[in-house]
């Protein structure tokens, strides 16, 4: 293992400290907790929090700031944060109108966030939540009951964050999340695995000439291993599945997110997005907004994911395009 570290067990602690120091104009660490909260107060507004295991940077803390998340909670690498820490994030985000939690669908995350909700409610803080499960690659997975929550989650952060900033209530955010979630679908692919620092060895193995479709952001198995193929073929494989799941038709508008997994250069991500945009054109589906880059990574995994969001409501685009003050959006 070759990584820029001091000690593997200190990686989350030191990363958090680094983020807080480097971006102190936007975020701060809440005491000695595993929580980064925004400096912007947002008094009287619903707080929006998210979080999960570390190793997916810039998710989640990169999206903390005015107009997006109020706070993010850090678990150990690929491990859910504990309820007491999630509860700290809820407390930090509560500005009198309750707190909405965006949870990615992993068994540990769901349990720990729900437990934190109970703790917060016992202290009189209103909490509601949604669970993202945008990864349509496999039904049940290594860490999840049902489909996994992956890169499409950042659309939920952004759109809910926009409305929270506008003063939406907990109930309104919940209703909006229910409309949004079914329209966001993602599939990933991997070229090479990631190494969790404390484990020191790759989470799975792929031959030099092999790729895996449907891989999860923790290296969970996907649905198919094949020989390396041209970007056009990879794009078509994934696009066809997403298009079918979203029942895309000529004239539809979509938002496109090509998300790097951490070890794939932007050069390759742009080659891939070019192929995706070609496929959309062929189907007469319009890309109303296209995003390319590392948004939800899997440490240094080589690979990417493609997310499509069907714009059922044009206002979602305005919410995505509204300016925010965060580290990474």
């Amino acid at each position: 293992m070759k990584k820029i570290l001091n000690a593997p067990q200190d990686v989350v602690e030191e990363m958090m400290q680094g983020m807080a120091e480097a971006h102190k104009d936007i975020v701060h660490r809440v005491g000695s907790t595993r929580v980064l909260a925004r400096n912007y107060e947002g008094a009287g507004k619903v707080g929006l929090i998210s979080g999960g295991g570390s190793g997916h940077e810039p998710t989640h803390a990169g999206f903390v700031g005015q107009g997006m998340l109020s706070a993010a909670v850090f678990g150990d690498v690929f491990t859910s944060p504990t309820p007491d820490q999630v509860y700290e994030a809820v407390k930090a985000a509560d500005k009198g109108a309750g707190v909405f939690m965006v949870i990615k669908n992993y068994t540990g995350d769901v349990l720990n966030f729900e437990m934190a909700k109970d703790m917060a409610e016992a202290e009189g803080i209103d909490v509601d939540f949604c669970i993202t499960k945008d990864d349509i690659a496999v039904e049940d997975s290594l860490y999840s009951d049902g489909q996994r929550g992956v890169a499409g989650t950042i659309f939920v952060h952004k759109i809910l964050g926009y409305h929270a900033e506008k003063g939406a209530s907990l109930k309104e955010l919940k209703a909006l999340s229910e409309k949004l979630l079914p329209e966001i679908k993602t599939i990933g692919l991997a070229l090479a695995p990631a190494i969790v620092p404390e484990q020191g060895k790759p989470g799975f193995e792929l031959a030099d000439d092999e790729i895996e479709f449907g891989i999860g952001i923790h290296g969970e198995p996907g649905y198919q291993r094949v020989k390396l193929q041209p970007s056009q073929a990879m794009a078509k494989e994934i696009y066809d599945k997403l298009s079918k799941a979203l029942q895309l038709q000529a004239g539809d508008d979509v938002v496109v997110l090509v998300n790097g997994m951490g070890g794939t250069p932007l050069m390759e991500q742009y080659v891939f997005v070019n192929d995706v945009l070609e496929l959309l054109k062929k189907d007469n589906v319009s890309a109303a907004k296209t995003m390319v880059g590392d948004y939800m990574t899997s440490i240094e995994m080589a690979g990417l994911s493609l997310t499509l969001m069907k714009l059922k409501d044009k206002a979602w685009l305005d919410a995505l395009n509204a300016p925010v003050d965060t580290i990474a959006w």
């Binding site: 309820p83 437990m115 860490y143």
Partner: protein
């Protein structure tokens, strides 16, 4: 059971976890992610330290302290599940000097597990030992009974929890959460004996 005995019970449980941590993780290997024993041992150690740092003065305080330690230190799914059990216990014994109704106490724990984990009997989870234990408690339950309950999870096919991922391959393995729950009950029975 009063505060002193309850403390001895939990101490005995923590010692059993420490003693069996390698085996618990081994049980977790084929059907989970192989860390149940080490996670539980970390939680048990934190719970002991918290009790030493601040001696509880009531049953409620004891259970609450242990619950919070497990919640914050165990992680994964076991942390919130065991944490919920102890917080439910704390709620149950509010104002009690001795545990007035053990069956009600354990039933509250079972309830918390079911609510948190959304599992029911037969899905190869902790519920599969908690449920028969609570049922049998009124008529009297022995160490052998507990052992049998734990072993009975072996032929089950997991449909909940992380073991559900391996599905049919979970058959033939003891559920690690059930095994650690068995230790919890054995510690209780031994303390009463």
């Amino acid at each position: 059971m009063d505060l002193t005995t309850a403390q001895a019970w939990l101490k005995r449980f923590f010692a059993l976890i420490e003693e069996h941590k390698a085996y618990l993780s081994e049980l977790d290997n084929p059907i989970g992610d192989g860390d149940h024993g080490h996670n539980m041992a970390r939680g048990a150690k934190a719970a002991e330290e918290a009790l030493q740092a601040q001696t509880p003065t009531s049953l409620e305080g004891l259970f609450k302290s242990v619950g919070m330690s497990l919640l914050s230190k165990v992680g994964g799914a076991s942390g919130p599940l065991y944490g919920s059990v102890f917080l439910a216990f704390a709620n149950e014994v509010k104002g009690q000097e001795v545990i007035e109704n053990p069956q009600q106490l354990f039933a509250a724990g079972l309830d918390a597990i079911v609510r948190r984990g959304k599992a029911s009997v037969g899905e190869k989870t902790m519920v599969d030992v908690w449920s028969p234990f609570v049922e049998k408690l009124a008529e009297g339950v022995s160490l052998e009974d507990v052992e049998a309950m734990v072993l009975a999870t072996k032929p089950l096919k997991a449909t909940k929890g992380r073991a559900a991922y391996v599905g049919a391959r979970s058959i033939g393995h003891i559920d690690p959460g059930s095994y650690s729950s068995g230790l919890f009950f054995k510690a209780y029975l031994k303390e009463l004996a």
